[in-house]
Symmetry: C2
Subunit: 304 residues, 2 copies
Amino acid sequence: MDEFELIRRYFARDAQASDVIVGIGDDGAVLELAPGIQQVQVIDTMVEGVHFPSDMAAADVGYRVVAVNLSDIAAMGAKPRWMTLALTLADQDESWVDQFAAGLFDAAREYDVELVGGDTTSGKVIVATVHMTGVVEEGAALLRSGANVGDTVFVTGTVGDAAAGLALLRDGEREEYLQRRFLRPRARVAKGRELIGQASAAIDLSDGLVGDLRKLLDASGVGADIDIECIPTSETLRQRFTAEEALEFALTGGDDYELLFTGPADIDIDDATPIGMVTAGTDLRCRLNGELVEVNDAGYRHFA
Amino acid sequence: MDEFELIRRYFARDAQASDVIVGIGDDGAVLELAPGIQQVQVIDTMVEGVHFPSDMAAADVGYRVVAVNLSDIAAMGAKPRWMTLALTLADQDESWVDQFAAGLFDAAREYDVELVGGDTTSGKVIVATVHMTGVVEEGAALLRSGANVGDTVFVTGTVGDAAAGLALLRDGEREEYLQRRFLRPRARVAKGRELIGQASAAIDLSDGLVGDLRKLLDASGVGADIDIECIPTSETLRQRFTAEEALEFALTGGDDYELLFTGPADIDIDDATPIGMVTAGTDLRCRLNGELVEVNDAGYRHFA
């Protein structure tokens, strides 16, 4: 049973309170403290050895755990304001904590979000959880569930770099640009704010383009036709890897923290690439140069 | 370096944003989304083997991680509204998750707080973090920092039961009342609401009465004289343990989740016992039947 199934089965109950506008199941919850003022709350955990390598620099761990939460805030179209930290340490020394805090505050300054509380505990591996609150105009939050048949599917920036960077890190190889995209992801907060009133649905790319697109389509009750050769990849990725490898990182790699969104074909958003169309039904069909291919966690293959 | 020193040294920076009314250093943060509406945010983590035994029933773990956060909300005088969960699992099966969720929702229903989001991950031990948001009237939040010289120090309910219950659990002995106080702590939410406008300062008892009182005194810049024979203990605790053991659990045991607060001697609060006075200076003096005793983590001893 994967994480999403676990949440769906045991934790996703319909909220009863009228101040819960959107509960479990989107990138964040939308909550209303008083009429006219909405907030978005998100929470994301990074576990040593699962979400980041044990030898990752403490400053990068600190930066990244903030960035992944900022990305969820961005996917909701909200403006980040406050965060709290729950940090479980194993046997890290003070200099580790010092560097972790430095990275965390780097991200906080960059995106103008305040650390307002926390809890530190000891355990067997590092577990860093950040909860973040953002604000959004009433009724304006970007949801996963708004995609309409006929909308175009867009993705911001380029995808696949972070997964490629992580793979190179694991192999002990160096490639600064790709590795930085894993270690210090950019959260698309400004882009999320731009999308308000323009995009019909949005999600951030944390688990891989195809998997995250599937979640958006499921939430919207629609399907899509994707032209995978249109998926934007960086020159660095294409130079370092074969075309097939680059496309696999882009489709299934994860950790990109770009935004995937749907909207009208003529939407006025810079640095976003159309990659397909929203369709009726629930099928997600991927084509490479016109030919249908099957995409799964391992990459893609041509249908027999 | 303990948890509090770690937070103070590396994470407690003065918040720059005007919407942060109270930042790091109290039971929770007080935040203002718009003039007139304040919210309290708290976060608390329980690690398997550190904060609870590995064989603790999943439903109790789920209940307790909500209750400890409710207690922080109570200590701020706020009304709980929403929570998010970050749950790291080791190799627990589905029935564990099912029971954990049952306990969590028991507490949620009892205190009328909604689960609005979460993240589940895998790690080496169970790490359960809950973040909770409450609402409080503008400027009304109970802080640690408001105690005045001459105030009386009060504690709600009885203390020491939970630590005694945990000690018995660890020894494989049974004592339902004491163990339940550890496994299913009551959060003093209604009491916290009553204290608004009446108490000058408040803190919840999670780490032990003397240690938590010290934090309140430090935050207020005052000292206190405590008559430790006045500290309220349950009949069950006094029957099961010697008078000296009972007093040690009460002074340093922790996990009580009662409220410690200061206010006028004639404050109108039920089920609260006066245990001493706030004094000038910063000394915390404890007396047993009029004689000065020294209290530390191990208990208390008479001065030589």
